[in-house]
C-alpha cells in the first residue's frame, strides 16, 4: 500500500483495530486521505465502514493503532466535541437532524464557533451569519421550508439538511456515511454534484453502497472488507480486482 506524503495528508489511520466482544470490526486498518481529496469507501455490510468513522470522530476508542489528523493531532486521545471543533464534521448513516427545531435553527446550531454555554445564553445572530445560513439554505435547496420543523422533512431533505449542517460547521474534513440512501435518482445525482463541489475546498470521505453514485463521484476508492482495506484505486480498477469480485459475489 502507498505510504502517505507527510506534508499534505489530512487524515492518517495506521494499524487501527477495534473489537466488540472478541469480534474484530476493524482489523489492522490503515488508510490515508490527502488534503482537498474526495474519497469513496465501499464494502459489503458489516465491513467496518461506520466503525471507522466512529473511531475518527471519537465515538469509539480503538484497541490499538494511530489516528492522526492534520499532521500531528492524535484523535484517539480526544472526545467527540473536541474532534468536531478541530474541524471534522460527520453525517450519520441514519439521518439525524434536530426534529423539533426548524430547518433554520438546525443550521444555526451547526454554525461554526459559539460552543460555550456562557456565550450562547446571550448569543445574537450577526448579519453575516444570517447571510451564511441563507446561502447554505440555497445550496441544499431548503429555502422554501426554512421555517418548517426538521421532523416534517422528507427523508432526502433530511439528508440534505444534515449536509447543510456540515457546511455550517465549515470543517476541513467531512465524513459522509451513506448520503444517498433513500434518495430518488435525481436527488442522488444532485448530491454527487454537491459533494464534488464541496470537495473543491476541503477533504471529503464518502461511504456508499450505490455504485452508480460512487462512479459519478469519479474519485479514488477504497474497498473495505472484514475490517481492513482490500483494494484501493479508481472504481474501474478495484472492480476488476479478483478478491473484490469474490467478496461481492461470494456473499
Amino acid at each position: 500500500m502507498n505510504k502517505p506524503h507527510a506534508s499534505n495528508t489530512i487524515l492518517y489511520l495506521d494499524g487501527v483495530s477495534v473489537s466488540f466482544d472478541g469480534f474484530k470490526a476493524l482489523n489492522d486498518l490503515s488508510l490515508y486521505v490527502e488534503e482537498g481529496e474526495l474519497r469513496a469507501i465501499i464494502g459489503p455490510n458489516g465491513a467496518g465502514k461506520t466503525t471507522m468513522m466512529d473511531v475518527i470522530t471519537g465515538k469509539t476508542r480503538p484497541d490499538k493503532g494511530d489516528v492522526i489528523f492534520n499532521g500531528g493531532v492524535d484523535l484517539t486521545q480526544l472526545d467527540e466535541a473536541a474532534i468536531a471543533n478541530l474541524g471534522i464534521g460527520r453525517k450519520f448513516q441514519k439521518p439525524t437532524v434536530f426534529e423539533n427545531h426548524t430547518v433554520f435553527d438546525n443550521l444555526e446550531l451547526a454554525l461554526k464557533g459559539h460552543r460555550r454555554p456562557q456565550s450562547s445564553l446571550f448569543f445574537r445572530l450577526s448579519g453575516e451569519q444570517q447571510y451564511r445560513i441563507n446561502e447554505v439554505l440555497g445550496i441544499i435547496a431548503l429555502t422554501d421550508v426554512h421555517m418548517m420543523q426538521a421532523g416534517s422533512l422528507s427523508h432526502g431533505q433530511k439528508q440534505w439538511l444534515e449536509i447543510g449542517m456540515l457546511l455550517m460547521q465549515d470543517p476541513d474534513l467531512l465524513l459522509v456515511d451513506e448520503p444517498v440512501a433513500g434518495m430518488t435518482d435525481a436527488e442522488t445525482e444532485a448530491t454527487a454534484v454537491l459533494l464534488k463541489d464541496i470537495a473543491k475546498t476541503r477533504s471529503v470521505v464518502v461511504v456508499e453502497h450505490d455504485m452508480v453514485f460512487v462512479k459519478s463521484l469519479d474519485c479514488r476508492v477504497n474497498v473495505l472488507h472484514e475490517g481492513s482495506v482490500l483494494a484501493e484505486g479508481s472504481l474501474d480498477v478495484v472492480q476488476q480486482n479478483e478478491q473484490v469480485i469474490e467478496v461481492y459475489l461470494g456473499r
Binding site: 434536530f98 427545531h101 426548524t102 450562547s120 445564553l121 445574537r124
Partner: protein, 387 residues
C-alpha cells in the same frame, strides 16, 4: 430567530399572558382582599386560604424547575424534592436562630432540640444563620452546589436516562436517611419547627402571611421569566437539541455535559428558592420532604400540566395540589389511587399535558391569531399568514 425582547415575545402568547396576568393580579389582589376587607365580607379571603394558595405557588415554582431540566433537556430528575428541602432547611435554620431564648428551654445559644440532646455548643455549620442575608445566600448556594457537584460527576460520566433518574432517587433517599439522624444536627426526625418570626415580623400575623403569598406569586412569575429567557436563547435551543439527539449535538462540537450542568444547577436553585418560601408558610421542615415519593409527585404535576411548555407545569402543580387538598379532605382513602390514575391517564391520553390538549391549544391559537391581527393588521391585509 427570536430577536425581539423577551416581554414582546411573551405578549404574543395568550396562554402565557393569561397565566402571568392572573399570577400578578393575584399577587396584589389576594393580600388586599385578605387585609383590607372585614372578615364578614363576602369577598374577604381568609388567612388560611392565603397560606394554602401560597403553598401551591411554591409547588408551581418547583414544578417549573423540574420542567426546565426534564421538559427541555430530557433529564428526568427524580430527586428535585431534595433541592426543595435543602432550600427549606436553610430557611428553617434562619427561623430557628430567630427564636433565640423564646424556646421551651429558654436557651439563647442553642435551638431546643440541641438542648434536649445535651449539646453544649452550636455546630459550626449553624454559624451565620442568625443573619438573614447569609441564610438567603445558603438557600441558593446549598442546592446549587449540590446540583453542581452531583451533575459534574453524573454528566461527565455520561449517566443518562433511567440510570440518571435512579441515582437522583438515591441522592434524595440518602439525604432522607442522613437528615433523620439526630447527630446530623438538623433536628432529626422532627425537623425544624416552632418558628416565631422573620426579620422581627411574626409568622402568624396576617401581614406576614400576605407578604409570603405575594413573594411566592412573584417568585413564580420571575421563575417563569428566567426559564423563558433561558429556553428562548441559543442555549435553550442547544438543550432541546441535547434532549432530542444527544450524540448528534456532541458531534457538532457542543460539550453536552456543561450545558446539562448549567440547566441542572439553575433548576436546583429555583427549587431551593421554592423550598425557602414553602417552609415559613407551612411552619415546619422535616426529613419527609426528602422522601423519594415527593420527587416523583412533582414529575406527575409536570407531566399532567404539560412538560416542555413553561405554562404547563405551573398549571399542573396548581390543579393537582388543589385536587389533592380537596380529595384528601373529602375522600382521603382514594387520593393516592386518583394520583396514580391521573398519571396513567395523562401519559396515555395527554402526552403533551393539559396545555397541549387540542381543545385548549386550539382555543389559545385562535386568540393568538386574533391578537396578531390586532397588533399588526397590515401583515394580514392580503390574507394568509404574513410570514
Amino acid at each position: 430567530m427570536t430577536h425581539q425582547p423577551l416581554l414582546l415575545r411573551i405578549v404574543k402568547e395568550p396562554m402565557a399572558v393569561s397565566l402571568l396576568s392572573v399570577l400578578i393580579l393575584a399577587a396584589f389582589l389576594v393580600p388586599m382582599l385578605n387585609l383590607m376587607l372585614p372578615s364578614d365580607s363576602a369577598f374577604h379571603v381568609p388567612s388560611y386560604v392565603v397560606t394554602l394558595l401560597g403553598k401551591y405557588l411554591t409547588y408551581a415554582l418547583l414544578a417549573l424547575s423540574v420542567d426546565l431540566v426534564w421538559g427541555y433537556c430530557g433529564i428526568l430528575s427524580l430527586g428535585h424534592g431534595a433541592f426543595f428541602a435543602l432550600g427549606g432547611y436553610a430557611m428553617g435554620m434562619y427561623m430557628m436562630r430567630q427564636i433565640g431564648d423564646r424556646g421551651v428551654y429558654g436557651n439563647a445559644e442553642l435551638p431546643d432540640f440541641m438542648v434536649f440532646l445535651n449539646w453544649q455548643e452550636l455546630p459550626w455549620y449553624w454559624y451565620g444563620f442568625d443573619s438573614f442575608g447569609f441564610a438567603m445566600l445558603m438557600v441558593v448556594l446549598v442546592p446549587g452546589l449540590l446540583a453542581f457537584v452531583f451533575g459534574w460527576f453524573a454528566f461527565r460520566s455520561r449517566v443518562t436516562g433511567v440510570y440518571l433518574s435512579i441515582i437522583t432517587q438515591a441522592m434524595t433517599y440518602a439525604l432522607l436517611l442522613a437528615f433523620f439522624r439526630n447527630d446530623m444536627g438538623f433536628g432529626g426526625n422532627n425537623g425544624l419547627t416552632d418558628f416565631k418570626d422573620i426579620l422581627g415580623f411574626g409568622l402568624q400575623t396576617d401581614g406576614m402571611r400576605a407578604t409570603l403569598f405575594f413573594l411566592s406569586a412573584m417568585a413564580v412569575v420571575t421563575g417563569y421569566l428566567v426559564c423563558r429567557f433561558i429556553v428562548d436563547s441559543r442555549l435553550g435551543r442547544v438543550i432541546v437539541a441535547i434532549r432530542d439527539a444527544e450524540s448528534r449535538t456532541r458531534f457538532l462540537g457542543y460539550r453536552v455535559e456543561y450545558y446539562k450542568l448549567f440547566v441542572f444547577t439553575v433548576s436546583a436553585v429555583l427549587a431551593g428558592i421554592a423550598g425557602a418560601l414553602y417552609v415559613p408558610q407551612v411552619g415546619i421542615i422535616n426529613p419527609s420532604e426528602f422522601s423519594p415519593a415527593n420527587s416523583i409527585e412533582i414529575v406527575i404535576w409536570v407531566a399532567l400540566g404539560g412538560r416542555g411548555s413553561l405554562t404547563g407545569p405551573i398549571i399542573g402543580a396548581l390543579v393537582v395540589n388543589y385536587a389533592k387538598s380537596y380529595f384528601t379532605g373529602a375522600l382521603p382513602e382514594v387520593w393516592l389511587f386518583m394520583l396514580g390514575g391521573l398519571f396513567i391517564f395523562s401519559t396515555l391520553f395527554l402526552p403533551k399535558g393539559l396545555v397541549g390538549t387540542k381543545a385548549i391549544s386550539d382555543a389559545f391559537e385562535e386568540q393568538r391569531l386574533r391578537l396578531a391581527k390586532f397588533l399588526r393588521p397590515y401583515d394580514y391585509a392580503e390574507g394568509g399568514e404574513g410570514r
